[in-house]
């Protein structure tokens, strides 16, 4: 089962984040338990913050103490434990509660330092007093808070507040940031893999086996892609060797065939010799078609190549007309202004030669094979033969396929070669019935401007 790398990363990051949070809690807890005094002072400071927040400028522009119910409740509920006193710069009291908890002289802080701490013994109890100067809405004030014990567990608030500040505030945005950066980085680093995958999908005997692009790939993935490229290179070599063998074998057969062919000519003419000559012609065709098939297999057409379909068809029809007339058939071309298509003129000419040879073979004597070129990039060959039955249409482009065992005139390779050449051009081959009898082979090419 495959799982997205991004999901895996986020999952692990969450796990690591959780562990880190736990560790942090342990650390904060351990830190404060080793420093109870510090924590107590934090508590006082925290309460002063709360008191300061309750000081607001009233409608007359003067500061007024307006505590929330919760804040006020803390003091009414525990008169023996918590007390506060807020004075303005003139020493006037802006607000106070349970002020008797601390001796009056301890509250007298108007000229004291900015912030101070003091442990006071009152009735045998230790009371911590803290005071801070502040400037609220432009008014200098002094806020003092005193605590004897901690019945309301204010310490716990401080503790949670600390946790909040140290864990949630500092870690969470960082963690979210980390996840986003990770997801984006992973996606982006792997984007070049998509290009490599595209190239890999296209690789094949017909498109050539090119190395996958390695540009921009992260080193970790590069190892795999380079290994694949190495394997592709070896496959390409094997394919090339096989193709070369077919081509060389066909090639090597040509000279002995030529010798055989010439030797036959020296024999006295007879019906038998004519039959042998026809056999040699068939063999010659087969050898040529084998070589063509091997070449068509590896034909790669540069998308930038273009040619005029009308000119190509004109050349082929012109060259093959003498053959057609020798065989008692006609050959004609219908086409007008140039039609530019994406493709290689030699390859298209080769495909058309095969189509015309087929059409001539299946046309009765006296009939005309028609080559028609039309917009947009259509090349068709129309004959007056028996046509191709529907059930045979998908079969005729298979290699060495023949309609019947007695059909010895063809090699069974012609349409397969045409099909391959069409594929290499991104063109389609379609077999239709001619409405008044015969077959129509249609090649649809891509216009030269496309892509």
């Amino acid at each position: 089962m495959s799982r997205s790398l991004v999901t895996t990363l986020i999952r692990r990051l969450l796990l690591a984040g959780g562990l880190l949070t736990l560790l942090n809690i342990v650390f904060v807890t351990a830190y404060y338990s080793s420093d109870p005094e510090g924590l107590r002072r934090e508590k006082v400071s925290h309460q002063i913050d709360r008191l300061a927040a309750a000081l607001k400028a009233g409608p007359d522009g003067r500061l007024a103490f307006m505590p929330s119910e919760r804040l006020a409740g803390t003091f009414t509920r525990y008169p023996d434990a918590y007390a506060f006193r807020i004075e303005d710069h003139a020493g006037a009291v802006l607000g106070e509660a349970n002020a008797s908890l601390v001796p009056a002289d301890r509250w007298s802080v108007a000229n004291g330092p900015d912030a101070w701490w003091s442990d006071v013994q009152v009735n045998g109890r230790s009371v911590l007093v803290g005071s801070r100067r502040a400037n609220i809405a432009g008014e200098p004030v002094r806020i003092a808070f005193a605590a004897a014990g901690d019945p309301s567990n204010l310490l716990l608030f401080v503790y949670f507040d600390e946790l909040f500040v140290h864990v949630i505030v500092s870690l969470l945005p960082f963690a979210i940031c980390l996840m986003i950066v990770n997801a984006v980085t992973v996606r982006q680093s792997l984007r070049s893999l998509v290009h490599a995958a595209d190239a890999a999908r296209k690789a094949g005997p017909s498109h050539g086996i090119a190395a996958l692009p390695t540009r921009g790939l992260p080193t970790e993935v590069l190892i795999l892609v380079e290994a694949i490229n190495d394997a592709l290179r070896r496959l390409g070599e094997a394919l090339e060797a096989e193709r070369a063998f077919t081509a060389e074998a066909a090639h090597a057969l040509r000279t002995p065939l030529a010798v055989l062919s010439a030797r036959i000519e020296t024999l006295p003419k007879s019906a038998e010799i004519n039959a042998v000559r026809a056999d040699i012609t068939a063999l010659r065709r087969l050898v040529n078609q084998l070589l063509s098939a091997a070449q068509a297999d590896t034909l790669v057409v540069d998308p930038a190549r273009q040619c005029d379909l009308v000119a190509v068809a004109g050349g082929v029809v012109s060259a093959m007309a003498p053959l057609a007339i020798r065989e008692g058939r006609g050959l004609a071309l219908e086409g007008g202004a140039p039609i530019m298509v994406r493709g290689d003129a030699d390859g298209i000419a080769h495909a058309l030669r095969n189509l015309i040879e087929n059409a001539l073979r299946f046309s009765p004597p006296g009939e005309e094979v028609l080559v028609r070129v039309a917009e947009p990039g259509v090349l068709m060959v129309l004959d007056r033969g028996p046509g191709i039955p529907d059930e045979q249409k998908p079969l005729v482009t298979k290699r060495f396929w023949r309609a019947s065992a007695s059909d010895l005139g063809g090699t069974g390779l012609g349409l397969a070669i045409v099909q391959r050449i069409a594929e290499a051009h991104g063109a389609t081959l379609e077999i239709r019935d001619r409405h008044d009898g015969g077959a129509v082979i249609v090649l649809q090419f891509l216009p030269a401007s496309a892509g």
């Binding site: 030529a258 010798v259 040529n288 070449q295 029809v317 003498p322």
Partner: protein, 226 residues
């Protein structure tokens, strides 16, 4: 007609030579480029049949050398290389025609005659097809030995077709050959000339046939195919 056959495979060279001699050619044979160059320097032939893959080099180099030296001798390339791409290579480099190996010697002979039938070629003075003879010097036509009276335009058409015997001749080629620049033939002028020529040749008993290749042009053959 003197022919230089450049072919390195001994039995093929021997058999082709015999067949070409039977077709009426006088054949010199060179098994490699060195021998070919030697023969070319002492006894220039009328036409060369050139195999490309030779033991001491590529036949195309010889061809290239000849053309660079301004030698226009007709060259028929016999190539075993024919494929989807390299058919045209020989033609680009100055070959007059090419034929794919294995080719029947009769085909080689026919192609050589076609090359020699060009203006200036040894067969270019008297063009012959079936019982039809065309003397390019006197511009007279005979069928079975009897003179055929033809108008100038029809004689011009016949000459172009006969010089390109065995090949389809595009209408543009015929038009370029028979009309001067300031003549503006109507769209059916050539058809009219050809049909007159057909009728007159038939009336004169010439056993030749002018085929129309729709969309391309015309082709002349001996009557009854072949």
């Amino acid at each position: 007609m003197k022919l230089l056959l450049i072919e390195d495979v001994p039995p093929l060279a021997q058999l082709t030579r015999e067949a070409l001699e039977a077709e009426g050619f006088t054949v010199d044979h060179a098994p490699d480029l060195e021998a070919a160059r030697a023969i070319l320097s002492v006894a220039p032939p009328d036409v060369i049949v050139l195999d490309l893959g030779l033991p001491d080099g590529d036949g195309l180099d010889l061809l290239h050398g000849l053309r660079n030296a301004g030698n226009g001798i007709p060259v028929l390339v016999v190539t075993a290389r024919a494929g989807l791409n390299d058919r045209i290579d020989g033609l680009d480099r100055g070959a007059d025609d090419y034929i794919v190996k294995p080719a029947a010697p009769a085909e080689i002979a026919a192609r050589c005659r076609a090359l020699l039938r060009r203006p200036g070629g040894v067969l270019g003075r008297k063009l012959q097809l079936g019982n039809l003879a065309f003397d390019t010097a006197s511009r007279s036509v005979t069928a079975a030995g009897r003179p055929v009276a033809l108008a100038r335009r029809e004689i011009d058409v016949l000459e172009v077709l006969l010089r390109k015997l065995g090949q389809s001749v595009p209408r543009r080629v015929i038009e370029d050959a028979i009309y001067t620049l300031d003549e503006a033939p109507g769209p059916n002028a050539l058809e009219a000339s050809v049909s007159r020529l057909r009728r007159q040749l038939a009336e004169a008993g010439a056993n030749v046939e002018i085929h129309t290749i729709r969309g391309i042009g015309y082709l002349i053959t001996e009557a009854g195919g072949a």
